[in-house]
């Protein structure tokens, strides 16, 4: 490689230093905290595995971790089922509306996340839209509290807020499938369903994996949705991390938990990039 010009260093160094100093160093500090001892209200600068031992011996933490992984998986699966028909229809049948429809899907990503979580409280609450509708139609004789503050409301809301992150990479993946391949497959006598499984699906796989990874990772780190629409027993690991950095005030334990989440995500990224080509859609 030839020697890089000064102009390169002028463009490369400022962003590289910012990322290094203000993102990667903080991540290392976080990692450091996970190995510090916590006693009463003080952090003692002494190396220990205690925080990780505590996470894996405490039943509550273990259950929360496995519940978080399960709910993140469930949300990813549901969003896959919802996103495929939408992305397929936008690309296949969208014609000149394709651009507009894609923007309509993206719009919610950039409009207040807090607002979109909050909406489900209005819909599912005791006085909510769903209850008043069901009572007025006569399906329920009186409103029920069954809809809100449980795992059901939490999963619906999580699916809702993260769905666009699955649709968007799928739309660009479907757009890149060459139409000639589908025609060739049809010419050779394959039924549309067969063509989808053997031609289209493998081609959109990288986009799908990118979307699935986003949805899984965003759910793994969420603590706002469980706090606003989940039940008191349905907290996710993000809630424990947030409370260790807040009222519970045990930063070493909180950072050890954050490290476990990070490890799960890096493990998943490693597996996915081995299985299929994971690309930035």
């Amino acid at each position: 490689m030839s020697k890089l010009p000064t102009r390169f260093w002028l463009t490369f160094l400022p962003p590289a230093f910012w990322m290094l100093g203000l993102y990667f160093v903080p991540l290392l500090v976080l990692l450091g905290y996970a190995f510090l001892r916590h006693e009463y209200v003080a952090v003692i600068r002494e190396f220990t595995w205690e925080n990780f031992a505590q996470i894996f011996s405490n039943l509550g933490y273990r259950h929360t971790l496995s519940r978080t992984v399960m709910i993140a998986t469930l949300v990813t699966v549901i969003n896959t089922l919802l996103a495929f028909p939408v992305a397929y229809c936008i690309v296949r049948y969208g014609n000149r509306w394709r651009g507009v429809l894609t923007v309509l899907v993206v719009l919610p990503i950039w409009s207040s996340y807090l607002v979109r979580v909050f909406a489900w409280r209005i819909i599912l609450g005791y006085n909510g839209v769903l209850n008043s509708f069901l009572v007025s139609v006569g399906i329920l004789s009186e409103p029920t509290t069954l809809f809100l503050y449980n795992q059901f409301s939490m999963v619906i809301t999580l699916c809702y807020v993260w769905l666009p992150f699955m649709i968007l990479p799928l739309v660009s993946a479907f757009e890149r499938v060459p139409g000639r391949l589908l025609e060739a497959s049809a010419d050779l006598g394959a039924a549309p369903g067969y063509t989808f499984w053997r031609i289209t699906f493998p081609l959109v796989m990288p986009g799908f994996l990118a979307g699935a990874l986003s949805v899984f990772s965003l759910t793994m780190g969420d603590y706002i949705t469980p706090a606003l629409v989940g039940g008191s027993g349905d907290i996710l690991v993000g809630n424990i991390v947030a409370s260790q950095y807040g009222v519970a005030d045990n930063w070493p334990l909180g950072s050890a938990l954050a490290m476990v989440v990070l490890l799960i995500l890096f493990g998943l990224i490693a597996v996915l990039s081995r299985v299929g080509s994971l690309e930035n859609a």
Partner: protein, 254 residues
């Protein structure tokens, strides 16, 4: 099969927009309790929101943070995009994925990492720490929109400028920058929309001065009050306007 798929897709589309429609509807409802049927219409909640001094202060802080964080994101994102697209250097792909990490990994990780970092340096939390956080997740957003544009600019543009006797600096400002301008503006608008609504990282890095989403978050935890629908509708209006403008810009000239 075709109509079945379109039917399912339309239902999912309704699922995406129904909750937003409901919030907008209730922001004009007279009743204090958010329930159907809506018995009367009013602008009172909007009036209440506009005259609420705590919300005004929150809005001011949000704008102050964005006013500094977004330009930082714009500069860093553009530089990184030029570095990645114009030069072949060792670790280029690593650099490209590293830059995307703040929006790839969940926000809570960045939130607690920066909180630990600032506290270990005894930096007090406040608007400056928020600005650093918001600039860091805005940077990858600007990077991805600008990098996509730079990738399409032929290298011959700069070579032509050089042949005609311009210095690299002149070539950048008179040839490259004008070609990037609309993509950069699109990225800046997205970074602004993100910063204006952000809550997950913000919670960890805020000191005494609440931003607008922090103010809403504080109110949401004490229960439902109808004026929230009005605030939220106004925020939605700002975000949607900003995002639509951004989409327009990134589709122009492409």
């Amino acid at each position: 099969m075709k109509w079945l798929l379109i039917g399912i897709a339309s239902l999912v589309g309704a699922f995406l927009y129904l909750p937003i429609a409901i919030i907008i509807l209730f922001s004009f409802s007279q009743k204090r309790v958010l329930s159907l049927p809506i018995t009367g219409w009013t602008f009172d909640w909007y009036h209440q929101v506009i005259t609420d001094t705590r919300l005004q202060l929150g809005l001011l802080h949000s704008l102050q943070v964005a006013a500094i964080a977004v330009p930082i994101s714009a500069i860093l994102g553009t530089l990184a995009a030029l570095a990645v697209q114009r030069y072949d250097f060792w670790g280029r792909n690593l650099f490209r994925s590293a830059v995307a990490l703040p929006i790839t990994l969940p926000g809570i990780i960045m939130g607690v990492a920066m909180l630990s970092f600032f506290s270990s340096l005894d930096v007090p939390l406040g608007l400056p720490t928020l600005i650093v956080g918001h600039a860091t997740f805005g940077f990858p957003v600007v990077f991805s929109t600008v990098a996509a544009r730079v990738a399409r600019l032929p290298k011959s543009l700069e070579e032509a400028a050089a042949d005609l006797g311009s210095t690299p600096w002149q070539a950048f400002w008179r040839v490259i920058f004008p070609a990037l301008r609309s993509a950069l503006l699109a990225g800046v608008l997205l970074a602004f929309a993100l910063s204006f609504d952000e809550i997950i990282v913000t919670i960890f890095l805020t000191g005494q001065q609440n931003t607008l989403p922090m103010e809403i978050w504080a109110r949401l935890r004490f229960g439902l009050t109808p004026e929230i629908n009005a605030i939220v509708t106004l925020i939605l209006l700002v975000s949607v306007g900003v995002v639509l403008a951004s989409q327009r810009l990134s589709q122009n000239e492409s």
